[in-house]
Amino acid sequence: MELLSGAEMVVRALKDEGVEYIYGYPGGALLHIYDALFQQEDVKHILVRHEQAATHMADAYARATGKAGVSLVTSGPGATNAVTGIATAYMDSIPMVVITGQVMSHLIGEDAFQETDMIGVSRPVVKHSFSVQNPEDIPGIIKKAFHIAESGRPGPVVVDIPKDMTTPTERYPYEYPASVKLRSYNPVSRGHTGQIKKAMDMVLSAKRPVIYSGGGIVMGDASNELTELAQMLNVPVTNTLMGLGGYPGTDRQFVGMLGMHGSYEANMVMHHADLILAVGARFDDRVTNALDKFCPTAKIIHVDIDPAAISKTIKADVPIVGPAKSVLSEMVSIVKASKKQIDKEALDAWWQQIEEWRTRHGGRFRTDDSELMKPQQVIEMLSKVTNGDAYVCSDVGQHQMFAAQYYKFNKPNRWINSGGLGTMGFGLPAAMGVKLNFPDADVACVTGEGSIQMNIQELSTISQYDIPVKVICLNNQSLGMVRQWQDMNYESRHSQSYMKSLPDFIKLVEAYGHVGMKVDKYEDLEAAMQEAFSLKDRMVFMDIAVDPFEHVYPMQVPRGSMRDMWLTKTERT
């Protein structure tokens, strides 16, 4: 058997796992590993400018491909800088392997230089973590880390490696395991057939059914199965923020996103439904509004790979634990074989009602109350210029909600945003992680002038590796989402929600060697955006001045039901 040092094993195991890129930042505890990286070419390392960005790049790669992304950060501050990125992945169930350096084993616990108990610090935000105690264990641990990260309900896994586990002069036999078996971890591979039959019987008896699907469809590669089932049954589909693209956004049966900033029709459909088929979604508080008022007439079927997600907030009438893909395809087969048909007449009446809701609101917004262009217009233009086919990586704020509402995602894995944690600063590194791995695709980062500054240093990484992403900055000169809440709940006392002394973004990006474009008038937008996307090998930053007073609507009324919404600044349901 081949003899390798611990450091070489880390790199070799990544190669054997099929990893092409890792994202990281060196430091004392990692020097042996970085030296091993230097001496090979299979695993390519991207040097970020802040460890948070390394984790978001790895995370976005995972969101776009379904495979675990990898980052490598040093002990102490390197590891703690990565925590936000790990938590971001954890909240959205994204597979990721984060390798953290650690001080030498004999120093652990002594408050050694750059020592942080990373296993302890990361514990609440990881699916699992490993601390390497013997160099021989490295291949097995890395194999397990990928297996755990990618299977079942995915999530981030931390592998903490003390420096003396990687000493170059100490060599051990290396073999990468072909498979892993963990006696205490066996994710389900299919749902319970009896439950699935029962569920389909209920669906076929429903008069006002709706499918409510989430990120589990996207990460569970179940988009085709979902689409087939929904179209066979002709039932409306709503997606969560995480589930966008799981069902084609331009299809007639799609009623839009649901929840706090969901579409009027989606929230109305949910509230009035008599049956909700929830798949890969978790009834989170940004979806349900007040739990005691949630969908009073609906029976609930809940399909999820994670038993703990079922009946956590809303009790399921029919729980089904299993992967979305296999459960949905079983559902499709049942419907195909069934003699019972869904009640067409009832469904027609249901659709008629839905169309009425659609015409009532349908995502309209005003353009006549401001000199400046509306953020929604920018997103609609982005959707047009990129044919609804771009990877859209978003930051957090109003711009994120506008992107979710107005970009029409027809494919899964294209909408990449921090839904659960809501991490400002996610967008730019996420776009970089996607573009690097899909060099021919259009990759946009939709951001605000607030969020972009949280990881703006990555403009430098972009120069180093030529990662020509397009930044669409909806510049409203304020922390818009905060300001909106202040407008609505604090009599417009704008405490710390606007930013004096914004940088000249154009000069800033030019200083890094990129292209900057300033757009102030809607008339100039289309041409400018066309040009930005035609500059295939340049990073372009579009600084777009938008109405600072715009709010995101609909917006659910706090502690109300699904259907209680503000539709404009003055109009309520």
Binding site: I119, G120, R123, P124, K127, H128, S129, S131, Q133, I148, L182, R183, S184, Y185, D306, P307, A308, S311, K312, K315
Partner: protein, 163 residues
């Protein structure tokens, strides 16, 4: 309601902190907790008593099951079970109190396991409410120190928690 949840888990470093961390992270209550290795040295058995509604208890067992180190979880209070807790209690014992303590300990089937001219230490095993009753009977004024192990338990009959 009070529940006794038994957990079989990998005897690995960090496993216990994950279980304890889960309880604080998710705002679950811990009344008592005991943990020790089993006859199989790769496994530890942990018993936790907790209070919560059915919904909370369901979440606790599900979230525990999700931990990678956790092999099996059972809520003992769902079925017939036996529970025991051990208490050692050090009491002021002078004059006629010595007889009084001895009598009360006998009634509760306790044993006096350490004696000095001024103190008795009584060992008592049983369900937690029996230990509480002993403390009530003795009265707090004479108590110098109490140490309790927390509850351990298992199911009655053939039912076992094992691999």
């Amino acid at each position: 309601m009070r529940h006794i949840i038994s957990v079989l888990m990998e005897n690995e470093p960090g496993a216990l902190s994950r279980v304890v961390g889960l309880f604080s992270q998710r705002n679950f209550n811990i009344e008592s907790l005991t943990v020790a290795p089993t006859e199989d040295s790769t496994l530890s058995r942990l018993t936790v008593t907790t209070l919560g509604s059915d919904r909370v208890i369901e979440q606790i067992t599900k979230q525990l099951n999700k931990l990678i180190d956790v092999v099996k979880v059972v809520d003992l209070t769902e079925g017939e079970h036996i529970e025991r807790e051990l208490m050692m209690i050090k009491l002021k014992a002078t004059g006629q109190m010595r007889d009084e303590i001895k009598r009360t300990a006998d009634i509760f089937r306790g044993q006096i396991i350490d004696v000095t001219p001024t103190t008795y230490t009584v060992q008592l095993a049983g369900a937690s409410d029996k230990l509480d009753a002993f403390i009530d009977a003795i009265g707090t004024s004479g108590i110098m120190e109490v140490v309790r192990t927390g509850v351990s338990g298992l199911s009655r009959g053939e039912k076992v928690l094992s691999l």
